[in-house]
């Protein structure tokens, strides 16, 4: 009698736990997974800028290494930025003709190494007295996993008012594009249009 009841209870618990494994964002399309984050210098007066230029390739930053890249996707990103800036009223000039603002584009990847330990770990170090001078050894059940995250970072730099004291140029606007489809060339136009689209204050015409 009791056995029957416990089987029943166990079944119920199993059913309950089975309903816990969820994938809330499983139904998001690639486009829906994209996140656009923009920020700007509140004191900047964009109407004072007339001309702009843009880097000739995309800066690739991966942890502490960096380099440049200009493949198809980078080229279409840069081209789309130019189109958007022009339709906001800025004039595209060569970097040599002293543009008022410059646009940087980077692809940034951060890789983290994470350690997972099994329940018995050094957290209990002090509990057992610690007088013996023993630590804990970490056998093979100590494991590592790596996560990495990439995003586009596009920023607008003010060349018109260089900060002469510490020799820097102020970033007056920046945008991050994050999410699942950021490396997919079919979404490049959509991504670039979105970051400019949500930054109406950039418009000067």
């Amino acid at each position: 009698m009791l056995k029957k009841a416990s089987t029943f209870a166990l079944l119920a618990i199993t059913l309950g736990l089975a309903s816990c494994s969820k994938d809330p964002i499983g139904d998001l399309s690639t486009e829906e997974s994209l996140v656009y984050v923009t920020n700007h210098d509140k004191s900047a007066n964009y109407t004072q800028y007339k001309t702009f230029s843009i880097v000739d390739s995309v800066l690739i930053v991966e942890n502490d290494r960096s380099g440049t890249s200009l493949d198809d996707i980078d080229r279409s990103l840069l081209q789309r930025i130019i189109t958007n800036m022009q339709s906001l009223g800025y004039t595209y000039v060569s970097p040599k003709s002293k543009p008022d603002v410059g646009i940087n584009a980077s692809w940034i990847t951060n890789t983290y190494l994470n350690a997972v330990s099994q329940p018995i770990s050094s957290y209990y170090g002090g509990y057992w007295g610690g007088g013996g001078g023993y630590g804990y050894g970490y056998p093979s059940y100590y494991s590592y996993y790596e996560t990495s995250e990439s995003y586009w970072l596009i920023s607008m730099v003010d060349f018109k008012h260089p900060n002469t004291t510490d020799k820097t140029y102020n970033v007056v606007w920046d945008a991050q594009i994050r999410g699942g489809g950021i490396g997919d060339s079919q979404y490049i136009d959509k991504m670039v249009d979105s970051i400019f689209g949500q930054s109406g204050y950039l418009k000067i015409n």
Binding site: L15, G16, S19, C20, V37, R178, G179
Partner: protein
Amino acid sequence: MKKAIVIIALVLAGFSGFAQEAPKLYTLPSPFDRYTHYLATARLMGAMPIGSFADSYIDKASFQNASVSIEWVLRNSPLSIGGEIGSTYFQKKIPRALYQNGDETVSAVQTRTLSQYPIELFGNYHLLGKNSTIQPYVQLSGGVSIVDYTLYYGSLTTQHQKVAPKYGVGVGSKFLFKKDGSFGIDVRVKYDGTSYKHEYIEKGVSSVNGSVGVFYRWW
């Protein structure tokens, strides 16, 4: 459906005095009347967010909820006391919109979720006897809920977890399949409140849930 008809038929039979007319084969009361016995229930629930929780975070009904409970039905008393553990889950996807996060403007499709694993003690007051085929009851419960607030911006996540106090008030009824039997159905409507505050949730989580369960009792 068939079972429902049987139950209704049993009810009608009870009211028309049919039971009293049947020959009395047993004079001894049922063991369920004589002993404190145990009762285990497994429930599936539909839940509807209400109040400010619905207004400010998720207003979409959820059917991904379940619970298991065990209770002690006390001898010579209309009361039973027990414990219930469960799992409830609310989710809502908000179309792409702009959000202000400090100075940042964020454009994203939000997927709002709230999972709870309530652990409660409850007391039931039964309005009719233990061998009545229909046993309506009122319920008061209190305990804690392990709350997981996970908000997705696109595929990015922000998460907050907390153990928060929770309480509930319910009305329900047990329906025995067979008079003096061990199995039956439990139907309950309950108000659940959890005092949890985080970001969008400013005044706690409240919902009304309706559940259908099956129970088994033994002594």
